[in-house]
Symmetry: C2
Amino acid sequence: MSEQRVTKFAIPEIIFGQSSIRYLAQCSRRLGAKRALVVTDQGLIDSGWADFVMDILRDDGLDFLLFDKVNSNPRDYQVHEGADLYVREKADVIIALGGGSPMDSAKGIGTIVGNGGRIADYEGANRIMRPLPPMIFIPTNAGSGSDISQFCIITDVERQVKMSIISRSLVPNVSIIDPDLLMTKDDQLVVSSAIDALAHAIESFVSPLASPFTENQALKAIELIAQNLQPAILNRTPQVMEQLSIASTAAGMSFSNAGLGIGHALAHSLGGIFDTLHGLVHPIVLPVVMRYNLPVCREKMCTIGRIIQGSSGECSLDHGEEGIIRLEELFAKLEVPNRMRDIVPDSGKLEQICRMAVHDACMLTNPRKADWEDLLHICQEAW
Amino acid sequence: MSEQRVTKFAIPEIIFGQSSIRYLAQCSRRLGAKRALVVTDQGLIDSGWADFVMDILRDDGLDFLLFDKVNSNPRDYQVHEGADLYVREKADVIIALGGGSPMDSAKGIGTIVGNGGRIADYEGANRIMRPLPPMIFIPTNAGSGSDISQFCIITDVERQVKMSIISRSLVPNVSIIDPDLLMTKDDQLVVSSAIDALAHAIESFVSPLASPFTENQALKAIELIAQNLQPAILNRTPQVMEQLSIASTAAGMSFSNAGLGIGHALAHSLGGIFDTLHGLVHPIVLPVVMRYNLPVCREKMCTIGRIIQGSSGECSLDHGEEGIIRLEELFAKLEVPNRMRDIVPDSGKLEQICRMAVHDACMLTNPRKADWEDLLHICQEAW
């Protein structure tokens, strides 16, 4: 760590493990809950998990309301609708059940409940001044890291922009991470979530804000994802999903405190303009972005490469490039799109995407400077 | 991790790095402070650091009171005196500046302020039911880990017992860890603090409550202490002290969530009966306790041994015993007592010490069961 540099590290209280969801009512009461707002989405209602959670609250005699008007790339108006419901019905704690979308919606709702105004007022870093109501998050994918992080991504519908809202106040009080909730997910979601977590780990490991506290977590995440991604598809067991959950949690601790990079800036732009699913972007852009960053962080890329290849012992400079190739080979074997043309309908919009991405807060922590033309070059390489 | 096991992981918000102490007033205000109780001890007043902290508050126009009636192995009556002052003078935040003693005193004061009664009412695990006032800790040694942990150790004067009080509520809101505060400490304090942190890391790594989140931190701490302990004496630089601070913080994250073992149970008994300085116990008992535990955790001891020896590559079973020998050699070179007879005035009291230690909360997380006669055998081996 360079001299005089001050590092901040904040994470929620974590309750982790199979069946940990049974602690939900107890945690809610400890935070003073009498009436919870449960934020989730249609998928979790269809899968039965929302009922499972509501039964836990009901069995404990805890009152609750359901808010399920959340879709992927959650919208500003959905956040306001949820906040209105919270205030009107006098809820006193927010429980989020879902992937990044319900969790980010819950953060948006909490922000408005605690601070008033419109969600766009809080775009950027450290603009939330007053505390949020107590929040308990139950992630149902092992990837977004929203259950750990200071990040909240909400789409401004009018401007077609995914806003990054970053604040210490957005870390929930408690995250209950129960790998059992992952067992029924389809392969594509498991893979794209794990690669999102891998991107969190790799982007934050090479961030100029990385500290020993975040680096340690990032490397653990990379190791566990490299070891468990294929087994999660070929032979999914509770143990494998637990390892991916640990990886996602560790990656969340890293990126929440060290920031992200170009890959996430591009993913936010693509999501804002084309409503592209966030998890589909990373298998496509991660290796290209790693190659772009390689010249300015060779040593760290070697460490990453060595871990991806599972080799112990000393680092050699070749490990950096070899690690990227190994990742590309791994992604090619998985059931996910691996060229940008597979997910972007119109190459004519790439310039607009890159001109927007260059203003994303994640660009500030990419190790190598990049203007919109550099980003365009990256997109063309990934096309 | 075994099936159905639920792990909890909670740490404070951490602000880390040289000169990070300058964030103190800002952090206090964020927690709503108007009048702070500053808990410290005579040593920190003599060294000028207490004035330094009070100047920061004064410059920011923040009102404060000083409570410095704290000594090593802090006493129950000191906690009550501090709590009376807090209530009488209507303080609204507690700032602790010091090693384990001022920090544990601050936790005790916060417990009484928030929950009433006597501090002995809270001995044991999870007996604190109501929240404590906001707490900001500034550690001045790299060892106790009290700035991170759920532990508070207070001496019950009448019973001559060091009580272990363990609760999620004892984790401070913010820890400001500034390695500059360590530069002026004498060698013996630096060494005994670092070995205390090493004992935290090793005892918690082999604890049955260890999780991937704590193991990762424990191994980082062991690595950094093995690399930086001798340099801290031979050629102390801000960089070396920063590495020891990172190690102590990581070890704190580990033991706070995974618990400790026999070494700490004995140290608490010795402190209660003979007022023995906590940090002096570990160089003496740690290797003997490791050897006692070795048969039930050979694989983990190999990992520890490999890291202490700085060897990369695969673990071999010999690494476990070799690591213990390497530690003994290292401790022998340092300016600290390394036999129990050097710090315990009377071998006739060993039985009493062991009969008391066996009831310490730390015994619950030692990997190998032990009765008082096993502990006596350990003490005799260390004599």
